[in-house]
Each structure stands twice: as C-alpha cells, then as structure tokens.
C-alpha cells in the first residue's frame, strides 16, 4: 500500500513537471553521460533543456572555468552536426581551445554586439530558431522582464539558453530556471606526478526550479564529469552498491 502511494505521487509529480515545461521525451545520451554525477539535482533527474540557465562569475578566472563548463554542455547538446550561437564572446573565447571540449569552433556562430538591448534582441530571435542546439550570451546584467521574455521564447522552441554573467552589479531575481556558479579547483595528477592535470571545478548549483540545489567537486576528463576521488575506496564501494 505504502509503495503504491509513493508511486502515484511520483507519477503525479512527473505529470506536473511535464506540464511545467520540463519535458523528458528527447533524451540526449551524451548529455546524460556528461552530467551523471549531478543528475539527481535536476527535476526527474534530467537536465532541463527547455530552460534558461544563468551562470555567475566574479573574476576572469571563474569566467574561464564557467566558459569551459558551458562548452562541455554545449558540446553534448550540439552532438555531431548541430550549431550554436554564442553572443558577445568573439575576442574573448579562443576558438582553437573549444576543440578540447569536443566542439568544432567553425560550427559556432559568434555574434559580437555592444548594447544590452541589441544582445537581448539577438538572443530572443536566436532562441526562437528551433534548428539551433543552444544559445549562449555573455551579458553582465539581466533584469527580470528580459529573463522572462527569454524563458518564454525557450519554452516555445525547446532550445536551451545560457547566460554568462561576468561580475554582475547585483544578483537579482530572474526567471531563469537555474543559477550556477563554477570555480576552479586545484588539479591533481595520479601518483603525485608534476604538472597540470585535468580541469577540476567546484560546481555550485545555487538555484534550480523543482530540483535540489547542491555543490559538487568534479573533474572534466574525456568528455565527462567525474566526482573527485578523495576516498577511492568509498567510491568503489558505492559503485558496487549501484551495480
């Protein structure tokens, strides 16, 4: 009896989520693989695609880490032949570096504009175009009205939008579904070898609608995130349990 009640509640929750725009129909295997370590934070354990995501960074170093994180996401979204629009990054993003995140830079269209109004116009128009894999904009300030417009456009087209806010004046309320903060962590090579290892990030999911915010330390290697192994034995035990 207990279990059936829980099942009914879970089913109802899923229904409500799908009504709210969190569709789980189009599963993207690469994205699922990439985000496996943090998937439990998302509603239905699926990264919300039809949503605006907001990233906050407070210094150039964090912006680089955030750009890397977004690149990893976009790479999974673009898959083999998709294309994405990246607004206001030309001259900041170094195209050859995108290769290390699995993106062929020639498939990204960079649009460079100065005025906030123009950026928002382009972002909204791009979000309405269903053939894009993702739209990314670097924009420090985003007010509630603008973010709601963008969110509405996203819900129509199901094209995820990413806003990268570098050193915003204030962290105000927006209609974005999630808010992230990515910071660099010290990298480590196996067996204490000298030199730089794979990038490690501290991912703070500050806010997520219908999900559970959280904080994770992950390493990005070979196209996927991995929990940092502080205690390898425990993880091995966990893996065994999962199997």
């Amino acid at each position: 009896m207990e279990s059936t009640k829980a099942d009914i509640v879970a089913a109802l929750q899923k229904q409500i989520l799908s009504l709210q725009g969190f569709k789980t129909s189009a599963r993207n295997k690469r994205l699922d693989d990439l985000l496996r370590p943090i998937k439990n934070a998302f509603p239905n354990a699926v990264f919300p695609l039809a949503a605006m995501h907001e990233f906050i960074s407070s210094c150039p170093e964090d912006t680089a880490a955030t750009s890397g994180f977004i690149s990893a996401l976009v790479s999974a979204l673009m898959q083999e032949k998709g294309t994405a629009v990246w607004i206001n990054a030309a001259g900041k993003i170094f195209p050859p570096a995108l290769q290390s995140f699995g993106i062929a830079a020639e498939r990204i269209i960079f649009i460079n504009l100065k005025k906030e109004k123009q950026i928002l116009w382009v972002m909204e128009e791009a979000l309405k175009c269903k053939r894009l894999a993702a739209v990314i904009a670097e924009l420090p300030e985003l007010d509630f009205t603008a973010s709601r417009r963008l969110q509405l456009a996203v819900e129509q087209s199901q094209v995820p939008g990413f806003i990268l806010r570098c050193q915003p004046k204030s962290i105000n309320t927006t209609a974005c579904v999630s808010r992230w903060q990515i910071k660099s962590l010290s990298s480590e090579l196996a067996d204490g070898m000298p030199g730089l290892g794979f990038p490690r990030w501290n991912i703070d999911l500050l806010k997520i609608r219908n999900g559970k915010p959280g904080s994770w330390q992950v390493e990005f290697a070979a196209g996927r995130f991995r929990h940092i192994n502080k205690f390898p034995a425990i993880e091995i035990a966990q893996q065994k349990q999962a199997v």
Binding site: P60, E61, T63, A64, A65, S67, G68, F69, S71, M78, Q79, K81, G82, T83, V85, A90, G91, K92, I93, F94, P95, P96, A97, L98, Q99, S100, F101, A104, A105, E106, R107, I108, I109, F110, I111, N112, L113, Q118, W121, V122, E125, A126, C129, K130, R131, L132, A133, K183, S184, L185, S186, S187, P194, G195, L196, P199, R200, F220
Partner: protein, 500 residues
Amino acid sequence: MAKRFVTIWFRYLRTDWFARRQPSLKDQAFVLATPEHGRMIISAANKLAEQQGIFTGMAVADARALAPALEVLDDQPGLSKKLLTAIAEWCIRFTPVAAVDLPDGLILDATGCAHLWGGEKKYLAEIYLRLKEFGYQVRLSVADTIGAAWAVVRFGTGSTIIENAAQKNALLFLPAQALRIDPLVSERLEKLGLNKIGDFIDLPRKSLRRRFGQELLLRISQALGETEEWLLPVQPIVAYQERLPCIEPIMTAKGIEIALERLLDALCKRLEKEGKGLRSLVFKGYRSDGKTVDISIGTNRPSSNRLHLFKLLAEKIDKLEPAPGIELFSLDALKVEDAIAAQENIWETEGGINDQQVAELLDRIGSKFGAEHIHRYQPAAHYWPERSFTLAPDLSATAATTWKQGRPRPVKMLLRPEAIEVTAPIPDYPPMLFRYKGQIHKIKKADGPERIEQEWWLQDGEHRDYYSVEDEAGCRYWLFRAGHYEPSGNTQWFLHGFFA
C-alpha cells in the same frame, strides 16, 4: 510584340540648362561660345537669339553686329554628354532602357511601358510635361524603329506618334538627312533631285549602294525595321528586376510596404519557377523630385522566400525617405544563384550550420545590426596563437585544415598579451610567482615550456616560451616569456589567457 522606341530631341539642350541655372537669362537672347582658331565661335544659341538670325557656327563678332545686346557665355566642353546622361538616368522611371543619343537626344525603349501611363499619347505628354517643368524644350516621337522616330522628331511636321508598321509612310516626305546619313551623301542626293526620302526609298538597293555607299542602305533598313538597331542603356539591365509605377506618388510607410509586397511576390514567383534564389537585393524608389532612394539587403544563402525577404527589407523601410513622394518602385536582384532545392523535413531536426532557418536568422541579425557583427572561425595553418584561426568568409565555407589537438590552449584569451612581473628561479624554469593587476599569484604547478617561433616571413620579433601554470587557488593561466632568458633581468613576461 513589336518594339516601340521614343526619341527625345532637346532643341536647346545647353542653353536651356544655362537658363535653368540663371533664371535672368530666360527672357534674353544669349549664346554659348568656344574659342576656335583665335576667334570665338558660337556653339549654341537660344531661341530668342535664333529669332534674331543668330545660328550655331557664326563668329561672335558677326552675331554682335546683328544683335548688340547679345549675351555671350563660355561653353563647357562635354556638357551635353553629362546632361544627357543625367536626364537618361532620370528617365529610367519611364522605361528601364534609356540611352544617350549624342549630341542632342535621348532614345528610350518604351516597349510595353506606355500602357502603364494609359497609352502612348499620355506617356509622351507626361515625359514632355516633366521635362518642361525642368525647363527643357523638347520634341518627342514614338515609332517602331529608332530611325523612324529620330527622323520624325527632328524633321516631321504632323503627328509624332507613328503607328505600328507605319514608319515607311511617315518617312516618305522627310528630307534625306532625316536618315542620319553623312551630310555629303545627303547633299549628293539633293543634287540629283532626290529631295525626299520617298523619292529614293523604293529605288533598287543595288544601284543605291553603288552610288551612295553601304551606310545609306543600312540607315534605310534600320529606319524601316528590317535591320535591328542596338541601344547602349545608361544603366545595365538587371536580369531579375520588377518595377511598379504608381499613379499617385507614395508617401506613407504602409504604401511602401504594399508596393514591396507586390514586387516581392512577382520576383519570388519568377525565381521559384526558374529554381533560383537571390543573394542580394536592392529596393529602389524613384522620387518625384528626380532623386532615387534605395535600401539593400544580402542573404547568406540563395533565397526566394518572400516572407523572409520582406522581413529583412521591412526593417529598413524607415530609411527610405519619400519626401515629395515616390512614383516608381523597382526591385533588382543583383546576385542570383541556383538554389539547391531544400529538402523539406517531415520532422524538425537540428540542421547544422547549413540549415535554411539558421541562415535566415543570421540574415535578420545581419540586416538589423550589420553583417560585420557575425563571425565564424576556421582553423588556420599557423602555430602562432593569434594567427591560429581566421574568419570564415561565409556560412558554407569549409577550412583547408583542421583544429590542432593535443596542445593545451586557454579557453579565454586576452585580446593582447598583458605584461606581468614574475620571479623565475633559473633559466627555462616556470616562474615561482607572478603579479597580475596588483595581485600576487603563487604558482603551485606548471607545465612547459612550449616554444612557439615567430613566423619570420610574416612578422619580426622574439619567439615565445609558453607555460601553463596553476596558482594556489586552482586557477590556471597561460604565461609566456618573450625571447630567451636574459641574465640582466630584462626578460619580458606576459599573461595571455585563462584555462578553464
């Protein structure tokens, strides 16, 4: 369809122009003169001067004897050509093909144009009136051939509208020089008593050629329409052009929109039928004050989608200044390419960079803010970081090389390397710490150096030794030393980028 040609004869082209510029000259006898062999010779005389017996070719001194109050102005060389070209360009509102006929005329190809003004009579009347408003005294004629129209306008006395296939009758009573022949030939004809064209037009062609040369035969057959005569239009004819003359000048944005919609409909229908798409489009408005205004757009891929093209142009309609009103709209597709028939997808998929919808999105952005804001990068065959990528010329371009892999490259790059102060222990070792923007970063881990040499055939300067370093906080940087380590301490270090 029979061709119809309008010839315009400017009886007093240059004097009319001078009178237009100086209204005081209007009621005065005046002539234009040019120096010739040390004398001033009259090169043009206005109507009042001609009435006093002054004609072109007279010496100014002789003319002064006839009319002491005669005003003499300096003629400008090349003026006729300049004026006629300008007027011919203005005449494009009446027909797409307008040609200059030096020294004093214009020829318009009016085939299929006159009905838009309600018949040839009204068409000629409109041109006449408009030119009269500018101050030009003209005579106009319309006929099936250029030769006939040319003859009638200069030598004819009766009606100047020559009906279809009636050019022979119209020519019969005109003098021989109406055929545009060498004056020597026409003189010889007159000497033989062949004063009118009708006297010799039916003579055997063989004997005409023997006595008067090939030119006469050519001119006769051109005037009769047996041989085609070619025009050199002042503006090249655009292969894909649509025109819309308006009865009343259009002044409102809504009116312009309606005109644009109609033109686009016609143009796109034609493009679709021929399997073509346009890459660049100019929408022109010919204003009633003689000026033209235009807006233009370009597209990334050949398009014949009228909705999309309308959207692009509609953004710019407010830049068209109608001022006193636009009386003719034209839509010229300057660049037309074969459109690869886009395969319609039953389900929506991500189409990649070559997708029509993506191209249309970029067209919209480009036409609103300028295409220079849209960039796409391609790998370039250079190791020097600043040159390792180039702008792609267009959406469908593919690069000759691939992105290099295996070398660490920072995701965020500074536009220009910024100088930093470092403490480096020994040559070719990564620095122990560096100061950037007043903040000291202690380096915990480092990789390198990766030496990148200058491409001496492109640029002079030092090579760079790049180090990827990580500070205490885990932030990763890309630093380089310009040139070799120098014991004197003058080594320059720079920060070039941030790793993710």
